[in-house]
Symmetry: C2
Amino acid sequence: MRESDIPEIRRLPLFDGMSDASFEQLTRGAYVQTFPPQVELLHEGDSSDFLHILSEGSVELFARWNRRETTMAIEHPLAVFILAATIRDAPYLMSARTLEKARIILLPSTDVRAVFATEHAFARAVVTELAQSYRQVVKSSKDLRLRSSIERLANYLLRQRAAGSGDCAITLAMEKRRLASILGMTAENLSRAFKSLQAYGVQVDGATVTIGDPTDLIRLAKPTPLIDDPDR
Amino acid sequence: MRESDIPEIRRLPLFDGMSDASFEQLTRGAYVQTFPPQVELLHEGDSSDFLHILSEGSVELFARWNRRETTMAIEHPLAVFILAATIRDAPYLMSARTLEKARIILLPSTDVRAVFATEHAFARAVVTELAQSYRQVVKSSKDLRLRSSIERLANYLLRQRAAGSGDCAITLAMEKRRLASILGMTAENLSRAFKSLQAYGVQVDGATVTIGDPTDLIRLAKPTPLIDDPDR
DNA sequence: CGTGGCCTTGAATGTATTCAACGGGGGTGG
DNA sequence: CCACCCCCGTTGAATACATTCAAGGCCACG
């Protein structure tokens, strides 16, 4: 790992308040690697040798079973992923692949666990990170269990609008087929779901989605912070 | 909180290695309460005032949205629940109700956070607990996304068999309607799913389910530790 | 100008929910 | 002790929701 890479991650909440000695211990065996798109970084079932920190690009976390595949999450910088597996020294539950060209910092899991055992600040930071991740998965699970695919799409659009500071013209950041997988449906079904949303003022043109009247869409989507709020 | 209640929870992994002073700080404002069945202990959206530890009985964690309801998990002693909300000082994402008469230890969230901030051993224990919970939800999410309702039921039965040390006669620990909700389906659909499993040697008599030939069921269920293993 | 990937559309099928009705078991009150 | 009722589970039929398979259009790229 080069000197120049260090300040970048030193500021991460995960390393906040950590002693320089511990941080050095963490980064000594670390390295930074750049991957082209569509590279499978790790496979579910493998043992967790490295904690991954996404520095640039984007990464898809997905899972397979019986010839089916589903997208569990998409990660953007600066994100830490597979933290739980690293901490528990357990096999990955999800696979990961790069979507775009991605720059990734890899910290040896043994070092992470060692520092975690000695540094209180790090343990606290890990808790905060894990608690956040946990709540995110619970929200996603509620989304899946309680909503139909059209409702999930409607709420997704509203979340994207909120993320883009309220602009009613949304640019989808990924292929539709991948969005479909995130939302727990097939590409064909997503296409039809978009069509159903026309009745609520949603217009689709390629990767650009326009929400005609948010109130209309909100009446259908019934968003709630307990599912749709990314923080909290 | 009575003196006699203390040893019971002192042995929890969550408090392992914690100083007596910190433990005393945690339990000073704590209290123990016994609830009858079907009591709603907390409601999603409420702020998390207490960390809950289930000492006896069982508790259902569930969520509602738009007049729909789903069971997220069932907790048994000795389980800690709503830990993530307590740590983040965020609103509950799930509601909880007692299923049977339940004995519950309540630790004020502010105390939990205070001790968490000062005690390294506690922070570590919380991490372990959270990482475990996180992985459990991820597994549940994979189960939902990747499997049909019949496959989910088949795997549930196999998990119950494993939990009961391999006995092919399983006694369902709850009403079928609740099991249906856990498995993410309606009561009617569960009934039909059981019927479909007759073709794989599954016999149902009230709350007793018998697996005729496990190999048959396994061929359908295709269980994997990455979804069905409760540990790891 | 062809080719391949992504998206869309249609039709058929499969999966799951809804609504309504029925039967049995456990509890209550007469 | 029995009649009654309520809740749970089951069943059927109709509907809604979602996937599969096949085909065609469009765009980007070589």
